[in-house]
């Protein structure tokens, strides 16, 4: 139990996927102008990351390793993730229209979100078991959502402030992300 608790804390705060591991930065900067959008994107990532990590884990240990083609990992993982995203999109559209309405537009963005693929690769490199892998994915997704929503909150307030023209938009977003990363840096001493 304690092990999973530590894993959660570590993945959300200490080794936050965006602010400490440098993953998923494009959507982090791209979709953090509005808190509502950030929550939508965040939940879509949590959901897909959780499923993708479980699925790629199974592909790795039930398919690639027994067949001795571990070197095709990258190719197999990206195809699994792309197919999964397509499938989830179709499923939500048919079965849960309200959820599709709120998450649907973010789903296609997720195939090229390197945080999803990154987490799938990290759990392989760390040689986690299946349960530990999906728990780690869940925690990482939540960490991504936390960082995204926090940054969106900051940028919403910045939008109504007068800034030098050159700093507006992406540059100030990156500097703010840096300051947040600095704040999260303080968690390093915790574990």
């Amino acid at each position: 139990m304690q092990e999973y608790f530590l894993l959660f804390i570590s993945a959300i705060f200490v080794n936050n996927i965006v602010l400490a591991q440098y993953l998923g930065n494009c959507p982090f900067i791209g979709t953090s102008k509005d808190t509502g959008v950030a929550v939508g994107m965040g939940s879509a990532v949590v959901f897909v990351m959780f499923m993708a990590t479980g699925l790629t884990w199974l592909v790795q240990y039930k398919l690639l390793v027994p067949m001795g083609i571990g070197y095709l990992q990258t190719l197999a993982f990206i195809l699994v993730i792309a197919a999964l995203v397509q499938f989830v999109e179709m499923f939500l559209k048919k079965m849960v229209p309200p959820l599709y309405k709120s998450l649907g537009i973010f789903l296609p963005l997720i195939t090229t979100n390197c945080a999803v693929m990154g987490v799938a690769l990290i759990v392989q490199r760390e040689e986690f078991g299946l349960v530990k892998s999906v728990m780690f994915a869940l925690a990482s997704g939540l960490g991504f959502m936390l960082a995204l929503v926090l940054l969106a909150g900051i940028r919403e307030r910045l939008a109504v402030r007068r800034l030098p023209v050159a700093m507006r938009g992406t540059p100030i977003g990156l500097v703010m992300a840096g300051l947040m990363s600095l704040a999260f840096f303080a968690f390093k001493g915790m574990i």
């Binding site: 440098y22 973010f106 693929m117 030098p164 540059p171 840096g178």
Partner: protein, 225 residues
């Protein structure tokens, strides 16, 4: 010839990734702890980008529109696997340094973005020039950012110590916060210089480019929705 040069050189300045075309931020932030790593990562991207553009351009007439993204992904991913193997065989220390960011080249928006925006519409030679130019521009940016962070963070450049005696390295620069802040400040500086020139010519001021999702194949759909 001039068209070829135009497509090649645009990636080096007017559409320089990741400053003018805000794409591929993850590797930009992650591997630029040192100039060496930035250069290595950049060259891997040049290899994948030039070849994927070439192949997609050659295949553009037979790839059905509906499955084009899947085809692009297969081509790009195969090239990335090839880079992984070659890097392990001939540059193992670099492979260890870059870690998961080597396989992650496949989800770098630049690759799919150029495939969709350029290679699927142009001939093989032009596409390769576009890929090589964009890739080299990306390499330049990464090497420069890596050099800057290495210099401020450890007083060295390409691993060679250059700082004067008594230089206090700013350890923060080689960690994550330094990556975000230095990229943000550099981006602002580029816009500032651009605006100075525009002001002199009497043009309106511009803001920094946003994260350009439209040039990425998979994301394009989301923007229309």
């Amino acid at each position: 010839m001039s068209r070829l040069w135009k497509e090649f050189s645009k990636g080096l300045w007017t559409e320089l990734p990741p400053f003018r075309l805000v794409l591929g931020l993850c590797p930009t932030l992650a591997v630029t702890k040192t100039a060496d790593n930035g250069l290595g990562m950049g060259l891997a991207v040049v290899f994948v980008l030039a070849l994927s553009n070439l192949m997609i351009s050659l295949l553009r007439k037979i790839i059905p529109a509906k499955v084009r993204i899947a085809c692009f992904i297969v081509v790009a991913a195969s090239l990335v696997v090839a880079v992984e193997l070659l890097m392990q065989a001939y540059a193992y220390p670099l492979y260890q340094q870059l870690g998961i960011f080597v396989p992650l080249i496949v989800v770098n928006c630049i690759i799919l973005g150029r495939a969709e925006a350029f290679a699927s519409k142009n001939g093989p030679l032009l596409s390769m020039a576009d890929g090589a130019g964009m890739g080299l521009g990306f390499t330049m940016s990464l090497t420069f950012l890596g050099g800057l962070r290495e210099l401020l963070g450890s007083g060295a450049i390409f691993g060679v110590h250059v700082a004067w005696e008594g230089f206090q390295p700013l350890g923060l620069m080689v960690e994550a916060p330094g990556a975000f802040i230095s990229l943000g400040v550099l981006l602002a500086l580029m816009v500032f210089v651009q605006n100075l020139q525009r002001k002199r010519r009497g043009l309106a001021l511009v803001e920094a480019p946003g994260h350009d999702c439209k040039s990425c194949g998979c994301c394009g759909k989301a923007d229309n929705a």
